[in-house]
């Protein structure tokens, strides 16, 4: 059974347009990258559920970090503590966490699934560096929480004070030879540019796109990967960046 009716236990605004929601769902064993399809309302506009990553799972509590970008997320942001929420999941392939020195690159709301990954890496005593870029300092969410996980962290913003730039522009400051694996989540433009940088270790991209069913049924979420269409929702959403063919269409 993947359909759950849950009660919102906590809701908090983390920035002007990013909020978090928490609910209880015991017995899950989610992995970073997995997500829920969240029902927006009981009417049919918006019609489809919205995919939202698991940003944390502690004991029995799921937390999601959501950015308001359009109609669906706007309506979702109006939900209140105590209200019920219908969610389907966890969906997406399970990611196997590798014991390798890891570089995490988050752009914007891409921080959500990578925060969950960072927590899991820490739990497994795996070394990692967290690079997180956002548009402006107030859009950097989960900052304190990330700092608690590691001191190897770089925050960067496009408008920020003395030093400005993107998650990718700060990579040049790092000694990239120490990393054995990378994980990235952010806007498509960021992933595309990162692919071109050709860093010397495999990078796994957490991909986002408009999903239909979110659970492998409709074939609506195609992504060209090593020459073949795969489903983002069921074969991903995490794919090796090298294999993604961005020209095959939007991801």
């Amino acid at each position: 059974m993947i359909k759950h009716t849950v009660k919102i236990l906590k809701k908090e605004w983390l920035s002007a347009d990013i909020f978090s929601l928490e609910f209880n769902l015991p017995g899950l064993h989610p992995t970073p990258g997995q997500f829920f399809q969240v029902r927006i309302n009981e009417t049919f506009d918006p019609l489809l559920n919205r995919p939202i990553s698991i940003a944390d799972y502690e004991k029995t509590r799921v937390s999601m970090v959501i950015k308001v970008v359009g109609k669906g997320t706007e309506l979702l942001s109006k939900k209140k503590v105590g209200e019920e929420l219908i969610v389907y999941g966890p969906l997406g392939r399970r990611l196997k966490i590798e014991n390798k020195n890891s570089l995490l690159i988050a752009g914007g709301i891409g921080v959500a699934p990578l925060f969950f990954l960072a927590k899991r890496l820490k739990r497994a005593w795996i070394d990692f560096t967290f690079v997180y870029g956002a548009r402006n300092p107030s859009a950097l969410v989960l900052k304190d929480e990330i700092e608690k996980l590691t001191s190897n962290v770089i925050f960067i913003t496009e408008t920020g004070g003395k030093k400005s730039g993107t998650a990718l522009s700060v990579l040049s400051e790092l000694n990239l030879t120490v990393y054995e694996i990378g994980y990235a989540c952010g806007p498509k433009a960021m992933l595309k540019e990162l692919q071109k940088l050709n860093l010397g270790f495999p990078i796994y991209a957490f991909c986002e796109d408009f999903l239909g069913c979110g659970c492998g049924l409709c074939l609506g979420c195609a992504i060209k990967y090593y020459g073949r269409y795969q489903r983002i929702c069921e074969d991903g959403p995490v794919f090796e960046l090298k294999g993604i063919e961005f020209d095959g269409g939007d991801i």
Binding site: I2, K3, R39, F44, D45, P46, L47, L48, N49, Y88, D209, F210, L211, G212, C213, C215, G216, L217, C218, L219, G220, C221, A222, I223, K224, R228, Y229, G248, G249, D250, I251
Partner: protein, 279 residues
């Protein structure tokens, strides 16, 4: 329980083609519905259209999946046997790119399925598809060719894109079709105003098309064959409206994208309505 084409179905709620994989995943749903229509099967494997393949519009979605499927051979070898094990009625949705291909696919699949649904109405492929379905002569030819190859029921899935489904429906019945299903998605488009370009062109489905689908179905009610109604059915009430308009059964499509268990809920709600006819 309903009886259509002299075949018993446990209920009149079916799964529409293309929105539920091959029905192997949510087995309780596949087993619970009256029948399932498979994803469109073509003679050769097809990789489908490039993304974006799906886009949401008010109370609807536009899709351009482009009949991605493994082709009839692979379907018969690895999917159909597993599907049969679920022990439910199976209609194979057949999509040809030439008139001949329909007959070839039907022959390859053989008599081991409940029946065939001829898809002459896909709006998302360059050749064949909806072009066949707009032309009564062409549709008649396809049905006659297929008729010679199978004794199983033949349902033709009609389009309402720029043509009168009644005319096409009549041609199908005259050529030997046992039933008609309607409607397939209708042409739709969404625009990106920033880039001043279309985001997607494809087939529109969901609640947005329900009134049109109901009208099309009702238009065919005097044809003397069973009609399977679909287009935006989300609730038991929607299903009931199609039955009142003349359908013998209904199929659920887009609702499954919102909730893979939707048909089970629709069956429950419909039962209540059918028992309590005074609503």
């Amino acid at each position: 329980m309903v009886e259509i084409f002299d075949i018993k179905f446990k209920n009149p709620v079916f799964i529409a083609s293309g929105v539920f994989g091959f029905g192997l995943k949510y087995k309780s749903v596949t087993r619970g519905v009256g029948a399932i229509f498979t994803k469109g099967i073509t003679l050769k494997p097809r990789v489908g259209n490039p993304p974006p393949r799906i886009y949401e519009t008010p109370a609807g979605i536009i899709n351009s999946v482009g009949l991605e499927n493994p082709g009839v051979k692979e379907f018969c070898n690895s999917i159909l046997p597993r599907l049969k094990k679920l022990n439910n009625r199976i209609f194979v949705n057949v999509a040809g790119f030439t008139i001949d291909e329909y007959a070839q696919i039907v022959e390859e699949i053989g008599e081991g399925v409940t029946g065939f649904e001829l898809n002459v109405s896909c709006p998302n492929v360059k050749e064949g598809g909806v072009l066949f379905g707009q032309d009564p002569k062409m549709v008649g030819k396809i049905v006659r060719m297929v008729r010679k190859r199978t004794r199983r029921p033949i349902i033709v899935k009609l389009t309402a894109n720029f043509c009168d489904p009644l005319k096409i429906g009549k041609a199908c019945v005259d050529a030997g079709a046992d039933g008609l299903s309607l409607i397939n998605t209708i042409f739709g488009m969404a625009f990106d105003i920033k880039r001043k370009k279309p985001i997607i062109t494809g087939g529109l489905s969901g609640p947005a098309i329900k009134p049109f689908a109901l009208y099309c179905l009702h238009r065919l009610k005097d044809l003397k064959v069973p009609l399977i109604g679909m287009g935006g059915i989300m609730t038991g009430r929607d299903a009931y409206e199609f039955l009142l308009a003349g359908a013998s059964a209904v199929a659920v499509g887009t609702a499954l994208l919102r909730d893979p268990y939707a048909p089970l809920q629709i069956i429950k709600e419909l039962e209540v309505l059918l028992q309590n006819k005074s609503v």
